[in-house]
């Protein structure tokens, strides 16, 4: 096994011992902003930005210090204090500074700082902007705890913290009923995952007597195969909840009810990738269980297709981006599920995705800002003239996402697809093809989004927004577009920077082990690369044929038929065979997945909630208020108790 079984963990000293500043700074910001009340209204947002920028600076210093150290000395432990220290119960509160957590720190604080700056402009006219920044700081704090903690308990602390911040921010627009529903749904689905994580932690504790990473990973080999698989699957359940993976994906698109910077930071770049972090972090456990890794890859592959296909069906620009996120995290899951072949690849795609998806969301925010908070792409069109900067930055993000040669996605997604083909046997084919088809579909729905938003007729000229105002699109203020430009630069070059020369792979190797490469691929690597590109090109082409040429996309979503049906009918009409063979099954699949997404899984979770709510309502009726019925229920309980005691004794 190539894994860091022989990892050496040293105590942090010198510069590295300042690492506690990383989360202390945003924590300070959150405290001041949330407890300070109205007094801090005038300067609150500045403080909110400064704490995160400062944390980013600290992160950079630590990162370069760590780069200066030899690879086998990059895993450091910073002991802060003994949280629980009695007898056999040992929970230390400390930080683990290793390459994996360092790259996350840079992603969280770097992208976080940009999004904080953007929010100054975006939330400018919100009365509660200061509180918004308080929550954002709370989020950054919790997220840093999550990735920096040195035990599963500290991870759980951050896990709950980011969840809390996420619910609070999804429900931000509290006057909208849909926001409250979305917040509730996010909470319910996340809790399902959290139970899995909690049980996994208790199982680790019961079997190994510790939850510290160092101890758990050093002694993971003592776990029986069954236990290891159970723990891996429970961890995966937690990861699915947090990362919006099948079957717990439905909350993530709904989470777009929150303000757009939140969607960019929490529901695209950082928090939703925590599941991928969890799997990568627990790599010594996943290395033990073939079954566990297989389930991770299956879920990743399925989710990536589901996200792509459902993404084709929506007209809401943020929903499309959200399904795109679901699908891209599917790629990451597929990557980390491949074990030693893919841990690093998953993480690299995660980093690159953080840049371009955050950029895309900020672009969407800029469009919404220009268009009276409208999100329906059918009402857009021809916006590139009005929003040139947004168009360029968004366009770069788009190219990076669909894997345009030499942009971010090209390097990082391609690597995962290649590794998937190398998994061997049926797996190689299934996972590889899933990834390649996903690339084609991604190209399709993203091109559709671009065409409907930026090109074609300016449909908004004849329309009014929901609150009956005319649309007057205009470019956003510098405080908003500067972060977008910076992220666009990231989407341009990050992938190449990460992948060429194996920079990140080498840097991550102390934590994730050497990246293995498959001995043989079923088809040559070059062919995979070219094939993927061709598939993506076909996706773009089809989208252009359907949406680019047609100048009159209906501004109203047609009744009963989804957009793709309508469009498909229109353009493929003359070719009945084509429709029957390709379009129909595609539409059915699309409809089925939308149904599965909205009614199936969602229905199951909502159904469970309704079951508890309903039984609660009924059981409540038993509390009749009559003393005598209370006495009767006590007596009944007592009789059953005594009866059971005697039965066990004499049975």
């Amino acid at each position: 096994m190539s894994i860091a079984a022989s990892e050496t963990v040293q105590q942090a000293s010198g510069t590295m011992s300042l690492a506690w500043l990383l989360f202390a700074l945003p924590a300070f910001g959150a405290l001041v902003l949330l407890l300070g009340g109205r007094r801090t209204n005038s300067w609150g947002h500045i403080l909110g930005v400064l704490t995160v920028v400062a944390a980013f600076a600290v992160g950079l210093v630590l990162f370069f210090t760590s780069l200066g150290a030899p690879p086998d000395q990059r895993t450091l432990n910073l002991h802060l204090f003994d949280w629980i220290d009695v007898g056999s119960l040992q929970v230390e509160f400390g930080m683990r500074l290793d390459p994996l957590s360092m790259v996350f720190v840079l992603l969280i604080t770097g992208v976080g700082a940009l999004i904080h700056i953007y929010s100054i402009g975006y939330m400018d006219d919100d009365r509660d902007r200061r509180r918004f920044f308080g929550y954002l700081n709370l989020f950054v704090f919790s997220m840093l705890i999550l990735v920096l903690g040195n035990s599963f308990i500290t991870l759980y602390l951050g896990w709950e913290g980011v969840g809390l911040a996420s619910y609070l921010l999804i429900g931000w627009y509290s006057d909208r009923r849909s926001a409250a529903t979305a917040s509730k749904k996010a909470f319910l689905m996340n809790r399902v995952g959290d139970v899995g994580l909690a049980i996994a932690i208790f199982l680790l504790w019961a079997n190994l007597g510790s939850t510290q990473y160092t101890e758990v990973f050093a002694r993971a080999g003592q776990l029986s195969p069954g236990t290891a698989t159970a723990i891996a699957l429970l961890l995966l359940l937690g990861a699915c909840g947090k990362s919006g993976q099948f079957p717990l994906q439905a909350w993530l698109p709904d989470a777009m009810e929150g303000p757009t910077p939140v969607s960019a930071l929490i529901h695209a770049a950082t928090m939703v990738t925590a599941g991928v972090y969890l799997v990568a972090r627990s790599n010594p456990i996943f290395d033990l269980t073939e079954t566990g890794r297989l389930v991770v890859t299956l879920i990743g592959a399925f989710t990536l297709l589901l996200g792509c296909i459902v993404g084709c069906a929506y007209d809401d620009i943020k929903k499309v981006l959200a399904y795109s996120t679901v699908s891209q995290i599917g790629y990451m899951m597929l990557g980390v599920g491949l074990g030693p072949f893919g841990y690093a690849l998953g993480i690299i795609h995660l980093l690159a995705h953080g840049f371009f998806k955050a950029g895309l969301f900020l672009g969407a925010g800029s469009i919404m800002h220009a268009m009276n908070d409208e999100v329906d792409m059918r009402k857009f069109g021809g916006l590139w003239r009005k929003l040139p900067i947004t168009f360029v930055t968004f366009g770069l993000g788009y190219l990076a996402l669909i894997g345009f040669p030499f942009l971010s996605g090209y390097y990082t997604k391609d690597a995962i697809i290649e590794a998937a083909f190398g998994a061997g046997g049926w797996r190689g084919w299934v996972f590889g093809l899933a990834g390649a088809i996903g690339a084609a579909l991604t190209a399709f729905y993203m091109t559709r989004l671009m065409l409907m938003t930026f090109f074609g007729k300016s449909r908004w000229k004849e329309l009014r927004s929901a609150d009956d105002r005319e649309f007057h699109p205009h470019e956003a203020k510098p405080v908003m577009w500067v972060p977008m430009v910076l992220l666009a630069i990231g989407s341009l070059g990050a992938g190449a920077f990460f992948v060429l020369g194996d920079r990140v792979v080498n840097y991550l190797s102390p934590t994730l082990g050497r990246l293995s490469t498959a001995e043989s691929h079923p088809i040559p690597e070059l062919l995979i690369t070219i094939g993927t590109l061709v598939l993506a090109a076909i996706g773009v082409l089809v989208a252009w044929l359907i949406f680019g040429r047609a100048k009159d996309i209906p501004a109203q979503r047609p009744e009963n038929v989804s957009g793709i049906v309508r469009a498909a009918r229109k353009d493929l009409y003359g070719n009945a065979l084509n429709e029957a063979l390709i379009a129909r099954p595609g539409i059915w699949l699309d409809r089925f997945l939308v149904w599965l997404d909205n009614k199936g899984v969602d229905g199951l979770v909502n159904g469970t909630a309704a079951l508890f709510g309903g039984s609660s309502g009924r059981l409540r009726r038993l509390q009749t208020g009559f003393v005598r019925s209370y006495a009767l229920s006590m007596l009944a309980g007592g009789v059953i108790l005594i009866g059971a005691l005697l039965m066990v004794r004499y049975a």
Binding site: L89, A180, F202, Y630
Partner: protein, 513 residues
Amino acid sequence: MTTPASLPDIDYAGVAPVLIILGAACIGVLLEAFVPRSQRWAVQVVLSLLAIVVAAIALGAYLYTGPQNTSTFAGSIALDRPALFLWGTLLALGLGSILLIADRVVEPGGAFVAQAGIRPGTMLDKEQANRSSMQTEVFPLALFSLAGMMIFCSANDLLSMFVALEVLSLPLYLMCGLARRRRLLSQEAAVKYFLLGAFASAFFLYGVALLYGYANSVKLADIANAAGGTNRSDALLFLGMGLLLIGLLFKGSVGPFHTWTPDVYQGAPTPMTAFMGACTKVAAFGAILRVLMVAFGSTHWEWQTIMWVVAGISMLLGAILGITQTDVKRMIAYSSVAHAGFLLVGVLALDGSGIRATLFYLISYGFTTIAAFGVVSLVRDGTGESTSLSSWAGLGKRSPLLAGIFTFLLLALAGIPLTSGFVSKFVVFAAGMSAGITPLVVLGLIASTIAAFFYLRVIVLMYFSEPAADGPTVTLPGMYTTAAITLGTLVTLLLGVYPSFMLDWAGTGGFVV
């Protein structure tokens, strides 16, 4: 022929805390008779607080100098570490409760009625509602009850336990009925609590009698010995145990014996609810822990599965019923039913780590509860406290600090990390896990997930709903309530961030046999 009865040795230093509280309660009754009405409140408050502090000092002195793990009164009162820890817990929580009871600012004149004898709704009653005086006998009653609780959780024989049960219960029944506002509800709560409490203690007592018949003794250790190796009829043992448990589980509001809890929590004056919620829970679980481990530990194979089921039922009932509650006090009541189930997980571990976890859980839960009810007492409208959840909407906008504190306390009840609630759930479930009751731990995690939903509902309501136009006001708390809320919140935070020292104290020893 008479033989001189030999008096048992009494370790006065050991039982000093209880004697001080009982003595102060007696003095308090006398003061009622002799001190002029206008000065009674001040004198009673000083006396009660002083008594608790002195008792705590006596306890501390005994802990440092006294012998370890002894018992006194001929073995009737155990002076072992768990008992002393529970005494300390009860004194600290009693202090918080007395502070809440003493407040006369939040509700002008105090939460208690001036003369309980006046009929509600009459002219006299309206007049007294506006008079700024209160029934000061509440203080000695609370002290009697507190002393009863202390004896209850250290009693090493069932007769002392029964007497202590009544000493702690009778004042509670009375105090439940003494609310200044909404007196009908308050009196109803008192009647229900009294009738059901008396019903439950009759079962308890029948259990004692049967166990006496079984073991020819009511000492816990003798029962354990008798169960260990005789051919006597086990029917008596298990019949007696079941009946005894009905009484104990009733006091701990463990489902399905919890039916009184929501009604009484809602109807009783809020400081009283805090006292019951925190201290009664401590006393009841102290006793359950002792009885199950000392008296029935040797037969645990026969009954532990059944108790797992009881714990599971309690967790699920509390969590599920809490979802649809619309009154904040009832909601906390159902949450206490769920917590009773979690506590039972620690008890059922039946080992040292289980004792430690349960004791830690009790102290952290107690402080959180006191602070939470302190906050509840501050949200008021024209007719008194406004406990309906709908009137809490938008509290975060009007009173950010109070809403922030309540949010923190709710997170503690839900068991979110960095609050004492997380650590206590963690240690309890860890104890359960290592004792091999994995299914129950998994059920506990699921139940706490369900329960987290209704805590979050309140948080969302406070922050994300527009305040009602004619909604309640938030009263500025007086010194006493502020002190109680601060105390409870700080302990909740402290035990969440730095729990080791308390876990150390809680785990210093087992029960004396």
